[in-house]
């Protein structure tokens, strides 16, 4: 079972997304801000990270940049999530190393496609 780390500060969205992904057959771990997200990426070794970009303490862009700079975490694919529909959110996300990007509200089938595409890209362990 693939392990997905969700980094999301909004409680409702965190709960909803984690339950829906669990239903879709993923093992889900949670972090509520960027700092915690980096720590969990190191300790949990997830197969993929869903990173909300507007986060307290340390925002998603910076957290992604550090994850992609970390020796052990650099290879973990990251999908940036943003409720901003402005184009530069996506550009910024790509620049810091996000492998993919999606906008909220989430359309589950579309997100699942993106998750699968990235998971399949990783060399199977």
């Amino acid at each position: 079972m693939s392990k997905i780390l969700i980094v999301e500060d909004n409680e409702l969205n965190r709960d909803m997304l984690s339950r829906r992904l669990a239903r879709s057959g993923y093992d889900v771990v949670l972090a509520v801000h960027g700092e915690e997200g980096i720590a969990m990426a190191q300790s949990e070794g997830p197969d993929l990270i869903l990173m909300d970009l507007s986060l307290p303490v340390l925002d998603g862009w910076e957290a992604t940049r550090r994850i992609k700079a970390g020796r052990t975490t650099a290879s973990i694919p990251v999908i940036g999530l943003s409720a901003h529909a402005m184009a530069d959110d996506e550009d910024r996300a790509r620049k810091v190393g996000c492998d993919d990007f999606d906008t909220k509200p989430i359309e589950l089938p579309r997100l699942l496609d993106k998750i699968e595409a990235l998971l399949q890209r990783r060399p199977s362990l």
Binding site: N13, M16, R20, R23, A83, H84, M86, P105, R121
Partner: protein, 630 residues
């Protein structure tokens, strides 16, 4: 005027009786202003001034000379000369000056003649000190005040000429005895002239002082006005800054609001979808949950519409131009819209020629416009007919592709049509209650069509139905897109029919296409499509191998998958573009991820999302073939 002149001649010539010209009586200080004679000529103010001085002055001169000759032998010529000097000459001088083309010049000539007369009388009175002094000092002062030093030299010459002419007759006789009367008149004359010039000088000074004061006042007024203008300008600049800041604030507010609204919406939509999954089988619950989800999606549509509109207004809406097959896009839109249209018991007729060809536009926006028009038609038509006509037409202003969506629905009045494209305005509020909708769709459609170089037109009649006609430029080679999208300098209009079955162009070796993709089925497909179009195809299963083959084969075109094991497509693309021997090879990115911007930014000339549309691929190949042959 001349009659008045004659009258004043007869009456001894009081200056007050004789305005210099027909218009406007000169005031004490009024000689600065030229006056206009009825004929339209202007008389110099000097003429009037001199006249008023000359009449009394010459009279005094004449009287003084007359008194001098009272006890001396005299003849009629002398009397005539005295009368001429005292009475005739001032009037004659005025007449000459005011009729002359250049009145100032004529008046100066008169002054010189005054000098000549004075010179004559000076010699005639045997250079008697008092009368001579009175006459010469008066005329020299007058000339100095009117004409300055240079003119005064001429004046002295004239006086001398007068002295010489008369002196030749009198033998330059010098006499010293002066009668009491002559002495009195001379003294009185000197006194009068000194007073006149003194007074004149006083008036001049006063005018200068007054003029300075007026100038200072005007200067102050101008300063005040300048201050006011400066303040107004500053406040306009401030207002402009404020407006810019407000607009900036509005954009930030919209972005934030969009974020704040989307976050709870995310939860609403997500939970309602989860509950829907749980509630399968409970029909009543499913209906209610569907309603929650539909309302949530509607709200999302509104937020997106508002954002799109504000992006267009801020000039931040981008067009992603690509070449696409019109028939294919129409087919898609029809597939989506058909259930909506048929739900209301409508018939749906589509007339779109299969060979209508290609368009180069933002396909997402074209699709959005078509769907919007079709769903509008569906919404406002019941048990009627909705028709979609698509055609291509050559007009004077170029080649156009037209899309017409026609319905037999409720139609619109001219007033309703007038409001149609305004954001948030539906035909009227009753319509909006009955039919729902955001009222943003059509204004977005119109803005999109304008952005894409086309337009949208509407015809409608209440109760009869409406017809919306969209027009988009049909020439795929003539577009002013963003420069980054146009790496291939000229796009050649490609007809699929031209390409199919056409071998390599005569006289040139077949062009080489390098296909880099880890999916064998894609390699196979690309091989078939490209060889059919007359290309030699080299395939590679990985990025590393692809780079090696690119260096060996120097292909004319590379198609590149993004998601590959090992080295991914972005890295391959970057490496290609950094290598000077490979950078010129056009690269087409072919992938499942829609990241057009990134591909274009890295230097790809085109971007295809899988599954690849063969016709589009062929059109891209054709472009490259023609360009590189040329």
């Amino acid at each position: 005027m001349h009659t008045r002149d004659e009258r004043s001649l007869a009456g001894g010539g009081e200056p007050s009786d004789l305005p210099a010209t027909g218009v406007g009586r000169p005031t004490g200080t009024g000689f600065a202003v030229s006056t206009e004679v009825p004929g339209g000529r202007r008389t110099h103010p000097l003429v009037a001034l001199d006249y008023r001085v000359r009449v009394p002055a010459m009279l005094i001169v004449a009287l003084t000379v007359f008194s001098h000759f009272l006890d001396k032998p005299r003849g009629p010529w002398l009397w005539a000369a005295i009368v001429f000097t005292g009475v005739v000459w001032p009037q004659l001088a005025h007449l000459i000056a005011s009729r002359a083309r250049d009145s100032k010049r004529a008046e100066l000539a008169n002054l010189l003649f005054d000098c000549f007369i004075v010179g004559c009388w000076t010699a005639a009175v045997s250079f008697s000190v008092l009368p001579s002094l009175m006459m010469v000092s008066a005329i020299v002062t007058a000339c100095l005040s009117v004409g300055g030093v240079r003119f005064t030299l001429w004046a002295v010459a004239s006086i001398t000429a007068g002295v010489l002419v008369v002196g030749a007759f009198t033998g330059f006789r010098v006499g010293t005895e002066v009668s009491l009367l002559t002495a009195g008149l001379s003294v009185a004359g000197t006194f009068a002239f000194t007073s006149i010039f003194g007074f004149h000088s006083h008036i001049q000074t006063r005018r200068v002082v007054k003029g300075r004061k007026e100038l200072a006042d005007q200067h102050r007024q101008i300063q005040d006005q300048y201050t006011i203008i400066e303040k107004a300008l500053q406040s306009a600049l401030d207002a402009n800054d404020a407006a810019r800041a407000a607009n900036q604030a509005k954009s930030i507010f919209l972005a934030n609001m969009s974020h704040e609204l989307r976050t709870p919406l995310n939860a609403i939509l997500g939970y309602s979808e989860m509950l829907l999954e749980d509630a399968q089988g409970n029909a009543a619950l499913v209906t209610d949950l569907e309603r929650i989800r539909t309302a949530g999606k509607h709200l999302l549509g509104l937020i997106n519409g508002v954002l799109d509109l504000s992006k267009i207004e801020a000039g931040k809406m981008k067009l992603y131009l690509e070449t696409f097959n019109v028939a294919r896009v129409v087919e898609e839109a029809v597939g989506t819209a058909r259930p909506l249209i048929q739900n209301n018991g409508n018939r749906f007729d589509v007339r779109c020629p299969e060979d209508i060809g290609l368009l180069r536009e933002d396909v997402t926006k074209v699709r959005q416009v078509l769907l919007n028009l079709l769903s509008n038609a569906a919404k406002f038509t019941e048990k009627g007919v909705v028709t979609l006509d698509v055609w291509r037409e050559d007009r004077i202003d170029g080649n156009w592709v037209f899309f017409r969506v026609k319905d037999t629905g409720i139609g619109m009045t001219p007033e309703q049509i007038g409001n149609l494209f305004l954001p948030f305005t539906q035909a009227d509020s009753a319509t909006s209650r009955k039919y729902g909708g955001t009222g943003l769709g059509l204004s977005l459609c119109q803005k999109y069509c304008t952005m894409m170089g086309g337009g949208i037109q509407v015809e409608s009649e209440p109760g009869r139905g409406s017809a919306f006609t969209v027009r988009l430029p049909g020439e795929i080679e003539n577009f002013d897109g963003e420069a980054s999208l146009v790496r291939v300098s000229t796009l050649t209009k490609v007809r699929i029919a031209d390409l199919a079955g056409k071998g390599p162009l005569p006289g040139s070796p077949p062009k080489v296409v390098l296909v880099i993709d880890d999916d064998p089925s894609v390699l196979d497909l690309m091989q078939r499509v490209c060889s059919k179009a007359g290309f030699r195809v080299v395939t590679s299963r990985s990025g590393e191998e692809g780079l090696r083959l690119a260096r060996e084969e120097k292909p004319d075109l590379i198609t590149l998958d993004v998601i590959m094991p090992g080295m991914d497509g972005w890295t391959v693309l970057e490496t290609l573009k950094k290598d000077s021997s490979l950078a010129a090879i056009p690269v087409v990115v072919v992938t499942i991820a829609d990241e057009r911007d990134r591909g274009i930014a890295l230097g790809a000339i085109d971007y295809f999302v899988k599954p690849v549309d063969h016709e589009r691929l062929l059109s891209a190949l054709g472009r490259i073939r023609r360009d590189r042959v040329a």
